[in-house]
Each structure stands twice: as C-alpha cells, then as structure tokens.
Symmetry: C2
Subunit: 154 residues, 2 copies
C-alpha cells in the first residue's frame, strides 16, 4: 500500500538518523537550558538574537524572522520574558503599528551567565563527535535545505 515514491535505502537510513538526532539533541539541550537558567530554547534564541543586535533592540517581526519563530509564538515568548524583566517592549517610533523588543540589563546578564554553559553543552553533544570537514559539510548541507525551504531568503 505504501509505495508512492518511497525512499531509497540510503535516504531511509539518513532520514531515521536525522530524526533521532534532532529529537534527542533538542530534548537534551532543552533540558540543560531549563535546568541552568529556566530558559526555553526558543527564549534563549530570542535573547541571543537581541544581544547581538546594535542597540539590543529589534522590531517584533524582524525578531521573529531571525529567531525562526512565528509572530504569535514570539508574542507569547516575549510576554513571558517581559514578565520576568528580561525584555521590555516599546512603541516603534517610525511605525505606529510596530513594537520594539529591547533586551534589559538583567536580561543581558542572564544571557552572559547562561551562554558559556550552553555553548559547552552544544560543543560536547554536537561538535565533539565531528571532524572539521564534517562540520563544514554539514553547514553546506543545512544551507542547501534552508535555501529550498525559505525561497524568500533571510
């Protein structure tokens, strides 16, 4: 019954390995981030993106794009981050529809504390098992999939 353009043997194996890897890796990283900082992967990425932006501020829609998040997801996340005082929202001066999310000093401090620990986990779980060449090749592969996924480009 299941035969319409089925996967080849290599594809099947790769797909299974990819699924398992992303699932287990995501779970492990989520658990670690949660335990050391109370942050979700999503909220960590939001803080990280803000911290790298000049002025540590971004419009909600730009932030959503750069954090690979939907607008509604971002709204919820930022609302939670604001409750805890890590982010603040302001009216956008040039567009009255817009809101600008600003990383607070407290938020920056939290990120500065969390980041090294997080990076260490990423390195241990993800990079240590790979060679330099594999890391570069994986980058090429991901960007190829990304380009196809996101015709608009980022």
């Amino acid at each position: 019954v299941v035969k319409t353009a089925w996967l080849s043997h290599d594809e099947q194996r790769t797909w299974r390995a990819f699924l398992a890897t992303t699932e287990l890796l995501d779970d492990a990283i989520d658990r670690h981030l949660q335990s050391v900082s109370g942050l979700t992967r999503t909220s960590y990425v939001v803080l990280a993106v803000l911290s790298e932006t000049p002025g540590r501020a971004l419009r909600m829609s730009d932030l959503a794009r750069q954090a690979n998040s939907s607008q509604s997801r971002l709204s919820h996340v930022v609302a939670r981050l604001e409750e805890r005082g890590w982010v603040r929202r302001q009216q956008c001066p040039t567009d009255r529809r817009g809101q600008v999310a600003v990383l607070t000093d407290t938020g920056y401090d939290l990120l500065a504390t969390t980041a090294p620990c997080h990076v260490e986990t990423v390195r241990r779980l993800f990079f240590d098992p790979l060679s330099q060449a594999q890391i570069r090749e994986l980058g090429v592969i991901c960007r190829a999939v990304l380009t196809a996924l996101n015709p608009a480009g980022s």
Copy 2:
C-alpha cells in the same frame, strides 16, 4: 563576558544553519501532517514504528525507545491514539507490569493513506536539495552525533 570555549567561525555558522533548518523543517512537516491526517509528528512516528513491527504490537517501553520518546510522552500520545481507535492497549502476557500497544486496522489504514503524502513532503523539502553523496555523508554525521548522545545504543 561570553568567551568560555566559544565556537569557531565554521562552528558558529554550521550551528546557526542547523538550528534554522531543523526548526523550519519540523514546523513545515508538522503543519503538513496535521493538515492531511490530524497526526502529530510524534504520533505519526509511533504509528509508523508499530506498523513495521511483526504483529504490529510493541511494549510501551520499547515503543518509547524506538520512537525517541519519553515514557510519559508516549503514554499521553497512545492515550490520544486509543481514543480515536487507531491503537489499542493490552496486558503484556509475560510481565504483569507491562502494557502492549497494538496498531488497529483503522490505524494501519490511516497510516497507509498518510504515508505516501508525508514521504512526498519529506522528499521535496529535505532530499531534493541534496546530492546522493550529501545524503550519505549526512547519515554518517548524524550517526556520529547519535552514538555520542546515546551511549547505551539502540
């Protein structure tokens, strides 16, 4: 402040690309599965694993391992699948603590209908942008990460 064993340039680029790829790919696949079958990626994988097992039945803990899921997650998922009549639970004959999840005929039919469509999506989003060599190399890379992630092996 953020300088403890930071990532190299290549690592940074690869990590960002990997994050974006998995996030966007997962979202796209979830949305597609949901729209054509009402299934989650998790529940789809559960049904798929069962369908490939002789007897279309597995103990909960084995099913959890093979579906890369926690026990509690699996309990919730199977409860939902059972409500809709796609899976049924039975006492394990050899261990009175155990439960066996069994794929029903209705569940199998649903999977048989959904699978080709899902595979088509996976092929289009994931495999089409990649060469044969890249697919094999990605498999090698994922298995290397997996091995490090899961010392017990599966």
